[in-house]
Symmetry: C2
Subunit: 129 residues, 2 copies
DNA sequence: ATGTTCAGTATACAAAAGTATACTGATATT
DNA sequence: AATATCAGTATACTTTTGTATACTGAACAT
């Protein structure tokens, strides 16, 4: 398993592997922003059509949904399939990697939960934006 | 352990616990943006003074460093200590939670590494921004 | 008295991310 | 012929995020 603490162990010591930085950047691109996670959550629930994603992702506009789906597709998180039925059916679904991002989200939730209890028992405040 | 897949299991079924969303939002606030992770990395290396953080976080301006440190302090990721020596010494250090965020970063790196190999063996492209 | 270091702040601007609202074009239904 | 549905696109914003450049003030050092 990778260890962030290891490779940043010293300023003059071994440099951070470039591959780690690339991997981290990829992940940040997938989880950052207002809409990526809500869309991925809907896709994990099995929602697959543009219109259904619009409905189940509250307050998103078609422009944003379109833009985000394109980015997710470019990053191989989502696959777009066209079925030339009538009316045309376009199906968005998560790739293998797309499904596996749920593990990262789990670890984010876990840290956040522990963090909140630690902050409360330390008497500090949490900004609930 | 929390499971994102569970609580989003169905549209009409059990709602996503609000605490999960709050936890996830907390985590996103800590890892999102251009400077948070570079600063945390420097702090993990033991860099602690404003001037040293400025030097070891390449291209950051004092304005941004100041702003980010304030946010990290508000979110109990960083502690600011003033030593009334002369010249005054101000020390920034990670809290317990602040150090533990490294686990989340590790899981982000892991997903990113696996994702890249999967994308390559599937013949897809990865956007290397 | 002038300069240097530390720890920032002030002002103005540029770029990225997100919103609002309306529209398109293909096909099918009434 | 008019209306509806699906899957988006077009145009014009507003808001948030980040950059550039200069400055402040306290405490020493020369």
């Amino acid at each position: 398993m990778s260890d962030f603490k290891d490779f940043i162990g010293s300023d003059k010591g071994p440099q951070c592997p470039r591959t780690y930085i690339l991997a981290l950047t990829d992940t940040l691109n997938v989880v950052s922003g207002k809409w990526k996670l809500p869309i991925i959550a809907a896709l994990l629930r099995g929602v697959s059509r543009f219109k259904d994603l619009l409905d189940s992702t509250e307050k998103i506009t078609p422009r944003m949904l379109s833009k985000e789906l394109k980015e997710l597709e470019m990053n191989s998180i989502v696959e777009r399939k066209v079925y030339s039925q009538t009316p045309v059916l376009i199906e968005y679904k998560l790739t293998k990697s797309g499904k596996e991002i749920a593990n990262v989200i789990d670890s984010m939730i876990d840290w956040g939960m522990v963090h909140r209890t630690q902050v409360i028992t330390d008497g500090d405040a949490v900004k609930t934006s």
